[in-house]
Structure formats: structure tokens, C-alpha cells
């Protein structure tokens, strides 16, 4: 909570610039009762980073156990709880809230709105998250242990064979879902209703566009997740047979419904990063974004396709061949709009005037490494080849390449890009570059060898492995420890930046564009009470 305190004092200093509004209240009640999008954004970001460290710690436990063959540190039962909780915490606790935090801070600033459309509901959306995670984490101390069936919670391992705490897990998911849905409704209402005069849809910054589409995806699929965990709840506690063949159900039904949520969820975790990167690359290339319109259409296409590709997560469950072919083709098709985005970013950099401050370093690494994740995704889309890749470390490598340098680097890039706006201070560039290079090396060291492990035949979610996998696992663990430890440096950089540093001008990046750079740094407690005019 130290960070909260620091944020509190720094933002509290700034309300002298208010235009006739009340500044923030004093003390902790400010955070409990706030309706201010900047406060709520800050809380989301702090919560997200806390969860990132917690989920990261669990990843360290996993990597420590996998450092060598044999069982050393934890028992398989606890190992499975760690993989499950690591996944849940990183997805629902770290990545999603981080993007909602960025949305809260930046959307109103980018579209010239006084706040989010429904400010009280906004605060509720946030506070439900700590509540949900309190329940989820409490399962670690329950009889029978925490959920141990992976974040995907496949039935019947999670129903008939799940620990008693599964019921608590289900309700925690429900609360997270309610939080996400309300957050998404707020985002859509804000974007559609509170744009400054003159800002037409096709003039909206890309971060706004990507969030609009992300919010649509959230509202479309979070209820489906709620539905499928409700079926679990009924199977466990009320004797229904959704996932039990002896009553006419099917365990694979769970997977279909789950992945109908799960695949759009993947894009929920990456589209906002696409948006942020589409601001950062032009800013540090000093050149307008290449192909704005095609960027918007590409995101739309990706979002729509995401609804018809879910079964590529289940190529080995025995789907009839027609289905198998359909899902293979649809999945391959996603490579087209994704490719367009990458080409556009590269074309934006081409013949620009490039500098490489920390946001740009993270953004360039994002483009390169996310593309590698995209390539392995394309390989996984080839259904016959997927028979060899599926549920091996190749998949683990793939989605960590998409999520770590994709989502997480996108978040770091955004954080460095907007920290001057949030705090009024420039962050320490040398430390930030150190953070980047250590993260970059650590991340590649941790996840690149996983491709080899998977191709050589190592299944995922195992606490112990055959001897031929030993060396790459050791390298991977070393990389993971390096990446993990490096994130403490990020904490230090942010705290330092909040506390002080070189004064940031309203527009600290000479190539940056957008309404958010027209307000002073730090952004006053209330901004755009009078909407700006957009040409």
C-alpha cells in the first residue's frame, strides 16, 4: 500500500489547478468513496501491479520446482494449485485490470470527457476486484487446498474431482465477471456519449478504438464465462449432468462454452495494447501512424473472427472433421488482420525520425516478440501440426510470447509513456532502459527455450520431467528469475517518479499527439469540465 500513499500525496498536490471543483478528499476515504476516473485508474494500476507480483511469485515457485528434474520444493498437488492460481491471477488480476486502469486514466483525457460516463459504477467495478481476489486467494487456506485444475478448469477434473474450494472459485469468477461487465459498459457509454464536439468515430485515437472493441468483447463473453461456471456449480452442488456422460452430458461441452469465452478473452488482453502501441510508435518515430483506417478495420476483423475460432484450443478432443477444418481455416484467417497491424507499425517507423526512450523500446520489442508469438500461433492453427504441439511447452511458449511481450510490455510501454502525465515528473530514463533490457533478456531466456521443450515432447502442467528436458528447463528458470526480479526495479522506478524528478511539461514527447497532451502535467484532478473543440 506504500505506492497508494505516494500517489495520494502527489496527486493531492495538484488540485490547485481545479476549475471550481472540489479536489480529492483527504485520507483513505478518498480511495474508498471516489468517483474520479484518475483515482480509480490509479487504484486499478496499483491493484494490477500487486497481483502481478503475487502471480509472479507463484511463477517463481513453478520455475524453481522445474529448475531440475525430480521433486524438490513442492508436491505435485501444490504445484497444480500454483499453475492454476498463477494463470487466474495474471489474467484476471494483472493484465485485465491494468488495461482497465489505463482506460480509466486515459479515455476521458483522450476524448475530452469530464470523467467516465457512470462514475459511481466505475468505483464499484474496481472494488469488486479486491473482493473477488480475497475470496479466490482464501481458497489457498481451505481444506483440500485451492483449485488445482488449471485456469481452464476442465470438467470433470474441476467438478466431480475438484476440491471443495471450487465453489468459492466459481463465485470469485462471478464477481470478477460482474466487475468486468460493468467496467466495459462504462467504457462503451463513455466513448459513445462523452466525446468532445468534433471528434467523430474515425478521428478517435486508436487506444479509444481498441478499447471500444475490447469492451464489446467483454460484454459479449464474460456472461458466457458466468454461464459455464454456473453449470459447474450446478454439477458440483445440485446434481445436474451437464458435463457427465452418464446423464447425457459431455465434458467437452465445458470446453466449447469455456473457449467461446476464452478466445475473445485472449484478444481482450491484447487489443488495448495494440491501441497504446499505435500511439507510442508514431510519437517516437515523429511521423503519423500509417494506415489509421486499416488499423481500425483490422481490430474489428480480429474481434469478429475471435468468435468463430474457439475450437482451435480443442483440436485433440475429437471434433468431427468438418468442424476441425472450419476452425482451422478461420483461425488461419486471423493472421491476415494481425499481419496488417504489424506491417502498419513497421511502415510507421519506416523513414521516420526515431528515438528510443523506454516507451519506444518496449513498443519495438512488443512488435518483434508479439510477432514471434503470432508466428507460433499460426503454426498452432495448422490442425494436424497442433496434434504435436497441443498441451506441450510449445503452447506455453506461444501464449507467454503473446502475453508477456504483448500485453505486459504493452502495459510497461504505456506506463512509461503516460507516467509524466500522471505524476508530473519524468521517470528515470537510465533505470527505465535497464528495466527494459533486463526484462527483454530475462523474458526471452525464460520463454524461448520452451519452444524447444515443447517440440522435443515436454507436456505442460507437469511438476517433473524426463532427463532430456533438463538443460532448457534450467535456462528457462534462470531467465524467469531474472525477469521476475527485474520487476521490482519497475516498482522502484515508479515510486521514484511519483515522489519527484524532473518536471514534466504538458507534452513531454515531441512527436506525441492527442488531447491528453493539451492538459498540464500532472493532469489536474478534474479535466475537460468544459469540452474542448476538436477540429
Amino acid at each position: 500500500m506504500a505506492v497508494t500513499g505516494v500517489f495520494m500525496s502527489s496527486v493531492a498536490d495538484t488540485h490547485t489547478q481545479d476549475h471550481g471543483h472540489h479536489g480529492p478528499a483527504k485520507g483513505f476515504s478518498r480511495w474508498l468513496l471516489t468517483t474520479n476516473h484518475k483515482d480509480i485508474g490509479t487504484m486499478y494500476l496499483v491493484f494490477s501491479f500487486t497481483m502481478f507480483l503475487l502471480g509472479g511469485t507463484m511463477a517463481m515457485v513453478i520455475r524453481a520446482e522445474l529448475f531440475q528434474p525430480g521433486l524438490q520444493i513442492v508436491q505435485p498437488e501444490f504445484f497444480n494449485q500454483m499453475t492454476t492460481m498463477h494463470g487466474l491471477i495474471m489474467i484476471f488480476g494483472a493484465v485485465m485490470p491494468a488495461f482497465v486502469g489505463l482506460a480509466n486514466w486515459m479515455l476521458p483525457l483522450m476524448i475530452g470527457a469530464p470523467d467516465m460516463a457512470l462514475p459511481r459504477m466505475n468505483n464499484w467495478s474496481f472494488w469488486l476486484l479486491p473482493c473477488a481476489f480475497l475470496i479466490l486467494l482464501s481458497t489457498l487456506f481451505m481444506q483440500g487446498g485451492a483449485p488445482n485444475f488449471g485456469w481452464t478448469a476442465y470438467a470433470p477434473l474441476s467438478t466431480t474431482y475438484g476440491p471443495p474450494s471450487t465453489t468459492f472459485f466459481i463465485f470469485a469468477i462471478h464477481i470478477m465477471g460482474i466487475s468486468s461487465i460493468m467496467g466495459a459498459i462504462n467504457v462503451i457509454a463513455t466513448i459513445l456519449n462523452l466525446r468532445a464536439p468534433g471528434m467523430t468515430l474515425m478521428k478517435m485515437p486508436l487506444f479509444v478504438w481498441t478499447w471500444l472493441i475490447t469492451a464489446f468483447l467483454l460484454i459479449a463473453v464474460m456472461p458466457v464465462l458466468a454461464g459455464v461456471v454456473t453449470m459447474m456449480l450446478m454439477d458440483i452442488n445440485f446434481g445436474t449432468s451437464f458435463f457427465d456422460a452418464s446423464g447425457g452430458g459431455d465434458p467437452v461441452l465445458f470446453q466449447h462454452v469455456f473457449w467461446f469465452f476464452g478466445h475473445p478473452e485472449v484478444y481482450i488482453m491484447i487489443l488495448p495494447a495494440f491501441g497504446a502501441i499505435s500511439h507510442i510508435i508514431p510519437a517516437f518515430s515523429r511521423k503519423p501512424l500509417f494506415g489509421y483506417a486499416s488499423m481500425v478495420y483490422a481490430v474489428g476483423a480480429i474481434a469478429l473472427l475471435s468468435f468463430v475460432v474457439w475450437a482451435h484450443h480443442m483440436f485433440t478432443v475429437g471434433i468431427p472433421i468438418v468442424g476441425q477444418l472450419f476452425f482451422m481455416y478461420a483461425t488461419m484467417l486471423i493472421a491476415v488482420p494481425t499481419g496488417v497491424k504489424v506491417f502498419n507499425w513497421v511502415a510507421t517507423m519506416f523513414r521516420g525520425s526515431l528515438t528510443f526512450e523506454a516507451p519506444m523500446l518496449f513498443a519495438v520489442a512488443f512488435v518483434i516478440l508479439f510477432t514471434i508469438g503470432g508466428f507460433s500461433g499460426l503454426m498452432l492453427a495448422i490442425a494436424p501440426a497442433d496434434f504435436q504441439y497441443h498441451d506441450t511447452y510449445f503452447v506455453v511458449a506461444h501464449f507467454h510470447y503473446v502475453l508477456v511481450p504483448g500485453a505486459i510490455f504493452g502495459i510497461f510501454a504505456s506506463a512509461y509513456f503516460w507516467l509524466p502525465k500522471w505524476t508530473g515528473h519524468m521517470y528515470d530514463e537510465t533505470l527505465a532502459k535497464t528495466h527494459f533490457w533486463l526484462s527483454f533478456i530475462g523474458m526471452n531466456l525464460a520463454f524461448f527455450p520452451m519452444h524447444f521443450l515443447g517440440l522435443a515432447g515436454m507436456p505442460r502442467r507437469i511438476p517433473d520431467y524426463a532427463l532430456q528436458f533438463a538443460d532448457f528447463n534450467m535456462i528457462s528458470s534462470i531467465g524467469a528469475f531474472m525477469f521476475g526480479a527485474t520487476q521490482l526495479l519497475f516498482l522502484f522506478i515508479v515510486v521514484k517518479c511519483v515522489r519527484g524528478g524532473e518536471k514534466a511539461p504538458a507534452k513531454p514527447w515531441d512527436g506525441a499527439e492527442g488531447l491528453e497532451w493539451t492538459v498540464p502535467s500532472p493532469a489536474p484532478y478534474h479535466t475537460f469540465s468544459t469540452p474542448p473543440e476538436v477540429k
Binding site: L33, T35, P114, D115, A117, L118, P119, M121, N123, W124, W127, L128, C131, A132, I135, P164, S165, T167, F168, F171, I175, A184, I185, N186, A189, T190, N193, L194, R195, P197, I219, A220, M222, P223, V224, A226, G227, M231, M234, I236, N237, G239, T240, S241, F242, D244, A245, S246, G247, G248, G249, D250, L253, H256, V257, F260, P320, I321, T530, P531
Partner: protein, 295 residues
């Protein structure tokens, strides 16, 4: 969009945090009731937790909606605010649609693929070797393992009470629309009467539904535990029933507000939101009637 200047950003509010505590305590209590019950442990404490949570939720709902109503009546809301509420309500209803879509999807998947496979048809028909003697049919009265899941004796036919209920709900959608037109025309008495009629239809619907459930449990041996037909039947109609209750509650509150003199001919979004919700509940029922009862 000059009215941006008057967009209402509320001051600090305790309701979100009350709502968080309320929801958390309610659901923690609910989970404890189930888990303790399964393990044969006493559930009294869990029930108390659940009820405390529910009370907090009730307090919050009165307080939060009360605050919004008084702000609205104090004229703090602009047209733009009204649009935010409209977007909010429409997307909320969309999220509800997707929730039902999950259960409808499950029903389709089971009927079109799973049950025929278990019965020996289609791409995975060899599955039938595990369930000798099992024959696919829908409604599924004989489950693959009748010992684990004794099947129902009969299914629920569509042309008796379900058809009656369909007529009730379709009529209620009509009456609530009449009430809405009356409100827009400023005929408040007419509004009250038609809204009251809507609520009456809703209440009759719920009684019929409760009667049907009792009949299913007592006479047909159709229960949640009677295999996938019972599972999908009760989950779909049950969640619909819960939404009918919520919708009826919303309409009842609107009636009380109208009686208290709230709403004007051109400013009554609360009423409209409730009406939208009611139409949504109605449309879901039509889907249910076709896919759960008729087909």
C-alpha cells in the same frame, strides 16, 4: 454537444463500497452453505453470513437507486446523462442475452451432437459401445446410466400451461407498451392501470411456473438430477424465472414511483429501462417456448 458543461459527475459516494461488501458477503455465504452442506457440516453460520450480505445488498439497492432518483428529480441530469443511462441499460441487456446464449448453446450442442453420439450416431458414434442399450431420444427420458441418473417419467408438453404462459407474457409485453404510450401522452391513470395489469400478468406467470415445477418434481420425476433433459430444462426456465421476478420487481417499483408522482411525459427513463428489460424477458421466453418445450 454543448451540454457537456452540465454533465453530472457525482461527489464521493459510499454506495459502491457498500455494494462490494454486500455482494462479497452474500456470495461467500452462499458458497459456504453449499460447501458445508456437501460435507455434512452445519450451515447455520453460512446462512447467517448469507442473510447479512443480502440485507446489506437490499440496503445498498434502496440507497443507491434512491440517490439516483433524487438527483434525477433535482434536475441534475442532462440529456447527455440520459444517453449514458440508455447505453448502459442496452449493453446490460446485451450481457444478459449472452448469459442465456451460453445455456441455449449448451442445449443445442447436447441435442444436436452429444445425445446422438451417445446413442451411436454420427462421427463419434462408436461411443455407444460404452453405453450398451442406450438409445438416443429427445426429450431424454432414459439416461446412459439410469442408475446414476434416473430419468424422468415424462417430459413437459408445450400445449398446456407453457402455451398459457406464453400468452400471458406476450400480453404483458403488449400491456406494458400501452402503459408507456399512456405515460408519454400524460395519461397517468391509464398508465397506472396498464402497468398494474402487466404486473398482475407477471405474477400469474410466476404462479403457473411454480405449479409446473411442483408437478414436474412430484408427478413426473423430472428434477435437476434427472439427467441432461432436466438439467437444461430447469436451468433455462429457472434462470428465466429469476429474471421474470427481477423484471416484475422493477415494474412494481415503477408503479410505486408513478403513484408517488415521479416521471414526466418526456423524462421517464427509469420506466423505459424496466420496460426494455421486460421485453427482453419476454423474448427469452419465446426462445424457451420454441426450443425447450415445442421442438
Amino acid at each position: 454537444m454543448a451540454e457537456n458543461q452540465t454533465y453530472y459527475v457525482p461527489e464521493q459516494s459510499k454506495w459502491p463500497i457498500v455494494a462490494t461488501v454486500g455482494l462479497g458477503v452474500t456470495l461467500y455465504g452462499a458458497a459456504s452453505i453449499m460447501v458445508n452442506g456437501n460435507q455434512g457440516e452445519p450451515t447455520t453460520g453460512a446462512w447467517i453470513t448469507f442473510l447479512i450480505g443480502a440485507l446489506i445488498m437490499a440496503y445498498m439497492l434502496f440507497g443507491w437507486f434512491g440517490a439516483v432518483i433524487s438527483e434525477s428529480r433535482a434536475g441534475l441530469y442532462s440529456d447527455q446523462m440520459d444517453r449514458s443511462f440508455r447505453w448502459g441499460m442496452s449493453w446490460f441487456i446485451f450481457s444478459e442475452v449472452m448469459f442465456f446464449a451460453a445455456f441455449f448453446g449448451a442445449l443445442f450442442y447436447v441435442r444436436v451432437f452429444v445425445v446422438p453420439w451417445l446413442g451411436g450416431d454420427g462421427d463419434r458414434g462408436s461411443t455407444n459401445m460404452l453405453w450398451e442399450g442406450f438409445q438416443a431420444s429427445w426429450p431424454l427420458l432414459n439416461n446412459p446410466d439410469p442408475q446414476a441418473y434416473p430419468g424422468p417419467e415424462h417430459a413437459v408438453g408445450p400445449w398446456g400451461l407453457p402455451l398459457f404462459n406464453t400468452i400471458l407474457l406476450v400480453t404483458s409485453s403488449f400491456t406494458v407498451t400501452v402503459a408507456h404510450h399512456a405515460l408519454k401522452a400524460g395519461h397517468r391513470t391509464k398508465t397506472k392501470l396498464w402497468l398494474a395489469a402487466t404486473i398482475a400478468l407477471a405474477v400469474v406467470f410466476m404462479f403457473v411456473q411454480a405449479y409446473e415445477y411442483a408437478h414436474a418434481y412430484q408427478d413426473l420425476n423430472l428434477t435437476l438430477q434427472s439427467g441432461i433433459y432436466g438439467s437444461t430444462f430447469f436451468m433455462l426456465t429457472g434462470f428465466h424465472g429469476a429474471h421474470v421476478m427481477l423484471g416484475t420487481l422493477m415494474l412494481a417499483i415503477m408503479l410505486i414511483r408513478i403513484i408517488k408522482g415521479h416521471f414526466t411525459a418526456d423524462n421517464h427513463f427509469g420506466f423505459e429501462a424496466a420496460a426494455w428489460y421486460w421485453h427482453f424477458v419476454d423474448v427469452v421466453w419465446l426462445g424457451l417456448f420454441v426450443f425447450v418445450y415445442v421442438l
